[in-house]
Symmetry: C2
């Protein structure tokens, strides 16, 4: 695995994978081209060919790409050949939405435990899982070999929770808390904040209300 | 407004704005430096100074930045001097989480209407809003001058819903549907897919379960 591949290329691979899986599922397709993929994704075919070139030869000139081969290679490159067990921290509205989300299935991740520190939530069921006391994070996570967590706690509790997750062996955190987090080297954080995304787009809108 | 500013710089401005507002709210701070901001955000101070340089002089050498001035300028640059009314489409678990999310307040956006096409959901209340029949999108959105929408519908319904939103005058869409969408020039889409974000991080993890 060559870690010199630019982060921005790695960032696009899951989008390629998602679209390829959709082409198989919805249309039963077995081959595609960089042009077809580009049109479906709203990007340039040259960009796709350049991204794929980082990983050697994915297809032959003229005959296009074999979709199943591409899916297998991308799955391997992204370390998705096994399912990663995921801890969800926070059993509020968002935690419920995430625990109920069926989109994790067959895409490499499965939420295997849910934590909260609210006594009225601990012991309740969300999806198929019983909400555990967040005080048990430090024992449960290492015992279950969990390296991936989703953070759905309020901003004020986020950094402290992240520190505890990292101490418990977590190496990748998807955070929905609207705050920047500090983690040691080797730990990865990805942020999801709807307001940040809306603000980014607002820049490009006409400044007046229509 | 200079639209030649790189998208990647625009993408970081909401994160600066969020952190500056937090410094005022939590610590009552009135001045800061690129070094302090960099440390809080886990990035380099040179990057911050370079980003700010696109917008003229935000601070004076040696005396740092006045936080309130920075906040006002970023708010203006990002077109957030008024609140944008937002339509939420999809009243499932995720729609509920978004409608209940208090993080939109005072950050430029307010969800003013919620739509679904499920007869068992139409007429029900989520947060302070009554779920409207999605069949009324085309009349309600223009009447309310809505240019921004959040899409929380299943993948299969996403493109058709986007086409209708665009026809109704929407120019910025935050999509939670796990699918790439096609929009005409001048319409902006931002995606939020937890699996894509988790897969991006999985690349950097050791390929074996710990």
């Amino acid at each position: 695995m060559d870690h010199a591949i630019p982060d921005i290329v790695i960032g696009r691979l899951p989008v390629y994978l998602r679209e390829l899986e959709r082409m198989v599922r919805d249309a039963g397709k077995t081959t595609t081209s960089s042009h077809e993929l580009a049109e479906r994704l709203g990007m340039s075919s040259a960009q796709i060919r350049k991204d794929f070139s980082h990983f050697g030869e994915f297809g032959k000139q003229g005959t296009g790409y074999h979709i199943h081969y591409l899916i297998d290679r991308l799955t391997e490159i992204l370390n998705l050949t096994h399912e990663w067990p995921v801890a969800l921290v926070g059993a509020g509205f968002l935690g419920h939405a995430l625990a109920s989300y069926r989109g994790f299935q067959r895409r490499g991740f499965v939420i295997t435990c849910v934590f909260d520190n609210d006594p009225t939530k601990i012991g309740k069921t969300i999806g198929d899982l019983v909400v555990q006391d967040a005080a048990t994070l430090e024992t449960t996570l290492p015992a279950r070999g969990i390296a991936v967590a989703i953070l759905a706690v309020p901003a004020d509790a986020a950094q402290e929770t992240v520190d505890r997750l990292v101490a418990a062996g977590v190496r990748a955190i998807l955070s929905y808390a609207p705050v920047s987090l500090t983690v040691p080297p080797g730990v990865h954080v990805s942020y999801s904040d709807p307001v940040v995304q809306l603000q980014q787009m607002a820049y490009y809108l006409s400044p007046t209300i229509p």
